[in-house]
Symmetry: C2
Subunit: 464 residues, 2 copies
């Protein structure tokens, strides 16, 4: 059957107009936020129901057509890029909140619900959806689950995994599974829900997710502290963690801060120039807690770790301090950064960062290297900026050269080559730096069970 006839057949499975093949749609829906791959899907399908998703998957099995799930397309590992004539299955029309239960503190979402929409719904009901990151305004719940999204509140609230009470999925075989039924406790064998979280659509598609909410945080208060060097950040984390329940502990380098301040729309936290900055947050529910925070700050100054600092006194100040961290990713996208998202256990962070920084500085003396990330959970974002004059492909080729060396170091530290961005196509060829050959064999065997014909997002996580 030729491609044209196949697409005509696909159209019969969906509502009229819900299969697009125009060039603009193919270009838009065929890509995510990565820039290394040219989109080349055959068609974009927009199901509106679980039954339609199931029909698409069964048809794809029969016709051996590869499918790529598509959410908010904010991914950074090319897991949602269709570069090889695949049919993209977009969840843009499965974007309803189906139920909210105040007693259970749960929300039943279709996969296309925007993260921000869930956060807002929680807030309107006096509750809180704690998974938050720069792309929350466009990322979708289905995609969050597919990559087990992390973000800026992991130190307190954990990853997306912690907030998934139940999943309805269509497996690669076309079966509908209702996983865990939203229970807190359910000891009835293997928790298959967990396999689908972080599977990047390679086992099946999420068609419904019940997300948990938490109580709303009270009087969130942030501090930004300038440290003498990177090594000083860890004792600062330790000091604050011993005294307060932190909701965040982020860091960024002076170079990252300079880029954000260069925008002109965010005030500097304080005058003193420091090589590194920590941003921490806590609930200042009582004056005692605020006093403890200030006393701990003073202790860190006395110890010579911290040069200067500021604590938010209002919601506006809280927001402004957070912008220093949250605007980094968007701001530096102008320089087409080569991003690496790596992690180790927290205690290994200082030695690890020093080694990686040495490798990168030696190899790229001419490039701007920016560090920032979620230091409280061991997750570092390494960003190398493209010089204005340099060709994009040449730049990425040059950066890729050092990957092996960086990932070799990650392996030596028992770390992860992808902390929260996923594997997709970007990290696929490096998977063995984080997972052993035998583990990868078991992973492939899992894939073969759920997707025996290999139609679900092929070429993502593993090579085809």
């Amino acid at each position: 059957m030729n491609r044209h006839a196949l697409i005509d057949e696909l159209k019969t499975l969906l509502e009229p107009g819900k299969v697009l093949t125009d060039a603009a749609s193919l270009d838009t829906y065929g890509r995510d936020w990565t820039k290394q791959y040219a989109p080349a899907p055959s068609a974009i399908a927009f199901p509106k129901t679980t039954e339609q998703v199931q029909a698409i998957v069964r048809w794809a099995n029969e016709r051996k057509v590869a499918l790529v799930p598509s959410g908010g397309r904010t991914g950074l590992s090319a897991a949602a890029v269709a570069a090889n004539g695949e049919v993209v299955v977009s969840f843009d029309y499965m974007n309803k909140v189906l139920d909210f239960n105040a007693t259970d503190r749960t929300v039943v979402c279709q996969p296309g619900v925007i993260t921000k929409q869930l956060q807002n719904l929680a807030e309107e009901n006096g509750l809180y959806y704690p998974v938050d990151f720069a792309s929350s305004g466009s990322s979708q719940i289905g995609g969050n689950i597919g990559t087990n999204a992390g973000g800026i509140k992991v130190i307190r609230y954990g990853m997306t995994r912690n907030w998934v009470a139940g999943l309805k999925v269509v497996t690669g075989q076309g079966d509908v599974l209702e996983l865990n039924k939203d229970l807190v406790k359910n000891a009835t064998g293997y928790d298959l829900r967990q396999l689908f979280i972080g599977a990047e659509g390679t086992l099946g598609f999420i068609v419904e997710a019940t997300m948990r909410l938490d109580r709303a945080p009270k009087n969130l208060t942030a501090m930004v502290l300038g440290t003498t060097d990177f090594d000083a950040i860890m004792p600062v984390l330790h000091a604050f963690q011993g005294k307060l329940d932190l909701t965040a502990f982020e860091f960024f380098s002076d170079k990252a801060l300079a880029k954000v301040l260069g925008r002109g729309d965010v005030p500097a936290p304080f005058e003193t120039a420091c090589p590194f900055y920590a941003l921490l947050e806590f609930e200042a529910t009582t004056d005692d807690i605020a006093d403890t925070a200030l006393a701990t700050f003073e202790h860190c100054v006395e110890q010579g770790w911290v040069l200067d600092g500021v604590m938010s006194q209002s919601e506006q100040q809280l927001r402004n301090l957070w912008k220093l961290r949250e605007y980094i990713s968007e701001t530096i996208s102008h320089w087409v950064p080569y991003k690496n998202d790596i992690s180790v256990t927290i205690s290994k962070v200082p030695a690890f960062l020093r080694e990686i920084d040495a490798i990168v500085s030696e190899r790229y003396p001419a490039f701007d290297v920016l560090w920032y990330g979620h230091i409280g959970d061991g997750n570092l974002h390494l960003n190398i900026l493209k010089p204005e004059h340099m060709d994009k492909d040449a730049f990425f080729a040059e950066c890729a050269l050092v990957n092996t060396e960086v990932f070799e170091t990650v392996r030596r530290y028992n770390g992860s080559i992808s902390a929260e961005h996923g594997v997709g196509m970007v990290k696929r060829d490096y998977l063995q730096y984080s997972r052993s050959p035998v583990e990868i064999q078991y992973m492939k065997a899992m894939k073969a069970v759920f997707d025996p014909n290999g139609i679900m997002n092929p070429g993502k996580i593993f090579s085809i």
Copy 2:
């Protein structure tokens, strides 16, 4: 090869004296806390290293010998019972704490580490291991992970799953996998660690586990409240949860309380007799919080939900209030209770309990029916006590008759037939009440990947 020759061969894999076949050992190590099955293992093997575990598994694959993992043998689903000539693999000699990291707040444990031992180690270091339950003095970490143990602090801290940073396992194929490497963030494909948590030893054996610790709770304070009826418990939960961060919310019926008070070593919480009691706990870090708790208590009295109550004013009082709940299981074991451990989402609890209670009361007008459990997470323990004069087998046979009806109700409420005790052999034949036939097929396919010869705890979770 006959059994005798097989055991001789097994002995060559371990240190001298580390395979036992005497009647007393077979009887002890062949059973757990369930009483329905007669133990009948062939031998008990005591490995001391991962390599020895691996050697046992490879030998068992070659010789087609079934293996049963054995920890503290406190299980309530017969997952650790060897009733069919299996070789029991006991982790009693793999009971060392291998590492403690204060910065990462992690402890590397061999599987035979006793839960209480981990709790104590945490406390000695100013930290906290929050998974706690009646059998913590003898249950082992490996077993906790195998059943994803829950207990009395789940409402705040979640199940054992939340505290497993990394696992080293020997799969049913005899491969050693190091899963997740203790990272907080690791988005490199399927999280196989999650499959082994709650797998009851059917996929492989846990040979090392890195457990996370939390900060120590501060000034834990408990309240016991007597309610007018069961339905009043839910608005009480809701009222307190809206005001405080609860660390526990348990309940028990007047009959359960009467049994504990009958021991004579625990003081009654107060004079007023009530049909149901709630036990809640929180960190009274400030006077404000204690005041809020008392105001909420008064609100509950005014609403007519609560008849009487008490709040602990000292550690001794806190411990005494907890005994009212924690001693139930041990106290009623005298009456050889028929236990059912079921759960639904929290909002469905009142209607669900009413239906189950009606079924049981109608079928067993002559039996004592006791309710208690972790109401804050939807987990109810239904206990039917054996009349003194009745034969044990006749009693269990009678109780089993109503199982189908109970589990049919569980299914109708989208609940779980095993909230935290696991499936083992006890719930095996009822699995389809909580998992769909197609889901069970996928589970069996997972099992076939990790344990193709079916030597790992066969007959548990699924029939052979």
